[in-house]
Amino acid sequence: MGWIRFGSVTVLALTGALASGVTHAQELDYWVYSDFAQGEALKLQQTFIEEFTAKHPGLEITISGRGDDDLLTGQIAGASSGTGPDVFMNSTSLGAILAQAGALKNIYEDWMAMPEDFRAQFNPDLIKMCTPQPSVMYCLPYTGYGSFMYRNLTVLEEAGIDPKRPITDWSDWKAQMRKIQAAGKKAVPDMSQSWLSLANIYSGVAAPDEWGIDFDNQKTRIAPEKLAEATQMLLDIKPYTSGTSEDDQVTKDLFTTNQLAFLVSGPWVDPIFEQAAKERGLKYDRVLVPGAQEGQYGGVKGFEFIAIAPKANAKIAWEFAAYVAEKKQMTRWAAALGRFNSNDAALADPQVSSHSLLAITNEASKHAIFNRPPFFVKPYPSDYWSVLLDGVADIVEGDETPQDGAKRIVDELNELVADE
């Protein structure tokens, strides 16, 4: 009797499992950055999913927001186990490591099979970036950012600075910082603590090809004399910093509570400040990152791609990726959120170009250096960023002169790259 009961339950359980399995003919796991799976961004992503699934009966797409590390580990682990996401986004700066891990399907043939008017929508430089070798294409360019400077207008007013007068160069910026310090506020976060902050300063003096790694010649592209100038700037502004890192929650809190004047960051911080403006009357604007000389600007740009895993459902995954990255969707994305993307046709749309956040991001990206170039070639040596940041911290601490320190850092980076 017991066996009969056991058998019945087993049969029922198996039937249930099979029945639930046939509800959807196909399923896609779609992984995005956490901020794409919240609030307005999530609503829009869900709209795209609903539109696409309406045209593909039996298809179910599950969107999942992930933090940076979670996204990377999930994609790498998924690549080896076959259990990872089917469609996913990530930063182009991690493209090489994902390509090496076999997480990215070569979509060259799918791409070439698309109509010419589809292919013409995308930024050609980014298409080149996604295509590191002939006939090898790993991704579709998707979203992106350019860094710019948020200014707290209340702090500037308290320091007697006219926000309408643009900051011309680093010496003008330093003069403003002195006034802010005198008014009992802090001017900037400690920009020597994170690679993004450091790059934001360095880019104010260096050319775009003076950042990143030259893997062919096994050396860093960082120019020691430019790094010396940048670290001298960091040394000069040290007394005016809050001591906190640019990406620290404390820094954002200081900005929203009118204790900090400037924050160089990306568009992802804007929703926090917008909310603070609505709820607490925060007054802020956005300007380009000042450069060393007049007419020169700093800033970092990065792009996120959408890619598909080399799995059995790659065909439908590609169709979905192509759908969300297409002009119509990217126009809605940019118009609703003011977020930059890689679809030039969408960015040129009049309903998009007037958005203030998008306009500053777009402008910033024209002057900015790429975040971690080159993309999809080779992963950076594991200690690259710590050698750079520790060396810069030593200079800012006064342990070395900017010239000596910069030279030593570049030598150490060259050794690291050569050892890879």
Binding site: A101, D248, Q249, V250, S382, L389, D390, A393
Partner: protein, 314 residues
């Protein structure tokens, strides 16, 4: 009718009592089977597989290449491993005795209160244990913030300069230990408190009649009576400390591409292992790292248990 003769034990057949025993235990093993299958699939197999990969150069895509003990040599010889091991030794040496002492102090304090206040303090001290670690780290990053953080404001009032709790390599480890003790004290306190509650009150009464002071009561009554609990708390804290990962990761804002904070002052072996795996795709090396760490943890834990056993005998 002649009954068939069942072969005896000499012929290799189980005796009737053995058959009964097997029948009896069969169902027990069957009930345990789901756990054992899952345990084998998700615990034993990955461990064995990881051990195998520790002898290979493997990036998850290309065919693994057998490299013998090279991964182990790399791990033991690398600069980062040495830094991580040094940091770990210092961290364990400080955080375990300090954490257990604070927890014991809190347990003694809470034990003094009965009724509402007893429950109140127990709950208050336990809050950090149930708090998500990322939240605890965010709170402490604020407390430690230069210029604006509470500790630096206090330091300023006392005339001290700005302390870079999370950015000065000479201070970072102590800053982390403070957070760790804050987080773990509540858990250890509850266990020690349970031990304290089990001590018969008449031992204290006898000690008081003999003229013992409070300190003498603790030294000669409390500590010997809760020795097994104390050893458990020390062992648990020790093993947890050896595996430290999430707290330094969060406090330093680490990622797989850059971890350990300034001058790697908060670099620990598990962080380094994760970074080598997911940051550099050197999974064979990461596996070797994991086994070196496991070997050290097992060795040290075994030493604790041996000492404990020897102590129990004497």
């Amino acid at each position: 009718m002649k009954r068939p003769v069942r072969p005896g034990p000499r012929e290799g057949w189980p005796t009737s009592s053995r058959v009964d025993e097997m029948q009896k235990t069969f169902w027990n093993y069957l009930m345990l089977a789901p756990f054992m299958i899952l345990f084998g699939a998700f615990f034993l197999y990955p461990i064995l597989s990881g051990f195998r990969y520790s002898f290979y150069d493997w990036d998850t895509v290309r065919e693994p290449v057998f490299v013998g003990l090279k991964n182990y040599e790399t791990v033991l010889g690398s600069r980062n491993s040495r830094i991580a091991a040094g940091n770990l030794a210092a961290y364990v040496a400080i955080t375990v005795p300090l954490g257990v002492s604070v927890a014991f102090g809190l347990a003694l304090l809470v034990d003094h209160f009965a009724g509402f206040w007893g429950r109140f303090f127990r709950s208050v001290y336990f809050v950090p244990v149930v708090m998500p670690l990322f939240l605890a780290a965010t709170i402490w990053r604020w407390l430690y913030a230069p210029n604006f953080g509470m500790f630096n404001l206090l330091a300023g009032w006392l005339g001290a300069g700005n302390i870079r709790f999370l950015n000065d390599p000479d201070v970072m480890l102590y800053s982390m230990v403070a957070v760790d003790v804050w987080v773990s004290a509540g858990f250890n306190m509850v266990i020690l408190l349970a031990g304290l509650k089990n001590i018969p009150r008449h031992y204290y009464e006898a000690a008081r009649l003999d003229g013992a002071t409070k300190l003498q009561e603790i030294v000669y009554v409390t500590l010997p009576m809760i020795k097994p609990v104390m050893i458990f708390v020390i062992s648990y804290s020790f093993i947890s400390a050896l595996q430290v990962f999430d707290l330094p990761w969060l406090l330093t804002g680490s990622s797989f591409l850059d971890y350990g904070g300034r001058q790697k002052a908060l670099l620990f072996p598990v962080m380094d292992m994760m970074g080598r795996g997911f940051g550099s795709l050197s999974f064979g090396l990461a596996s070797a790292y994991g086994f070196v760490l496991t070997f050290v943890i097992v060795l040290l834990t075994a030493a604790i248990f041996v000492l404990q056993k020897r102590d129990a005998r004497t």
